[in-house]
Subunit: 290 residues, 2 copies
Amino acid sequence: MPRLGTVAIIGVGLIGGSIGKALRERGLAERVVGIGRDPLKLADGVRLGAIDEGTTDPRRGVAEAEVVVVCTPVPQIAADVRNAAEWGLEGVLVTDAGSTKRELVEEVARHPRARAVFVAGHPIAGSERKGVAYADGNLFAGRTCILTPTSDTDPDRLLRARHFWTGLGCRLIETSPEAHDRALALTSHLPHAVASALAGVVPVESLAMAAGAYRDGTRVAGSDASLWTGIFRANRDSVLESVTAFQERLTAFKNALVADDEQVLIDLWNTAKLQRAHFDAENLAPSTES
Amino acid sequence: MPRLGTVAIIGVGLIGGSIGKALRERGLAERVVGIGRDPLKLADGVRLGAIDEGTTDPRRGVAEAEVVVVCTPVPQIAADVRNAAEWGLEGVLVTDAGSTKRELVEEVARHPRARAVFVAGHPIAGSERKGVAYADGNLFAGRTCILTPTSDTDPDRLLRARHFWTGLGCRLIETSPEAHDRALALTSHLPHAVASALAGVVPVESLAMAAGAYRDGTRVAGSDASLWTGIFRANRDSVLESVTAFQERLTAFKNALVADDEQVLIDLWNTAKLQRAHFDAENLAPSTES
């Protein structure tokens, strides 16, 4: 892909910082500007090589950007997209890294200028850790990025968004915002809700007798509370549906155990094991992600 | 600890094979005899360095053993302990590696000779993988082994069991069989049931959009169906209690989401996160285990 001029990143945390690092390490942009509220964190971003420079003034930060990537928490993304669209260059591409898409795309669509410049994105990579200190230029290598264009999306900017995300190392999937949110409710939001409920129900005094099943099953419960609350709320209907489906499955297990029905227990287990095997078959090189 | 003579391992799979490897690599026994039903698997065990020799005849296999370790699936352990007690040397110590203890200890207690030689053990180490091919002499290094002696337990054999398991690298916890089963229902059996329900509810066609939260949250769903069905059934009451407590916690999350109560969602998340942080603080070097 041709080298980009200035790329602005709004929100320089784990994801924003990793995008900055990837752009800089791969020589994909002439300049990476980080935009945030905390000058100390922006200084960290510069020191850690995630951005070339930082500013707390979003208007100034996006002024010269060819691409603006919004990496703020879900409830804040729509406003940041609108601002970047208004304050940015005529030809600016605005994309984002948010974990939910339907509500965001609807909100952006209400603003003609934002609608015209925006291509919604979601790189499925992350970690339960937070902050630019954990940023990693290889975070996106081989990971999936989902783009959710609609009939509103400018075809030229869609092309540029594809180049942008594949340049960071992502393989692309394109789907509707609605289909994205339904799928992610199952593949990501539900696993987070389940991990948190599991961590919440195992008392601290039993942890000396816990090992790998607990460790892996609760890992993402260590993620940020307000970040995940924002995601759950933005995808409420699909999350509730997924939790209900999960509860039904667990109740089927419970009923089989109450009835001491060995065959049903084995069948439930083997169906799940078989579905899970597809994931391993498709993901031969797992890395840090969420 | 003084070097042991012959150690017999009944069931040379992942756990039995790892015990054999640890004994041999650490020079803890003069001879390790593997006992199993499949001569080909026993030959694998010899080839892979897990045992010195194998036999399909348990009576012959335990005849000269100073220690017999029963590593068969949970429903089979009590019978293997009884046989080892009957066929073994006068002074034999019989221990096991089973994941549930109350039912087993009760069954063994009905047989005076078995009761006299048995010390129940549970090394909390393992993997979702199965078979001697995955055996690892370092599987127990730094891991917890729970011993569940009762008033029936011979004090001398308890001492020998402590030496045996610490010799493999374990740190010990001693508790009652009942307390063991209640704790493990929460720390291990529930996480397995939850992982399986999660894997069962995410359709294969969404897996391209799954990443780390799904991967870790479902890892142990790849474990063996009949092994885990045996564990759930042997610890039914405590597993059912744990699943119910978990469902209540998940329902609290669901209710808060239905009510769109941000503060309750954040509080639920942070309580769980705090409990989970204790685990990380206590386990600075996680390894393959289940």
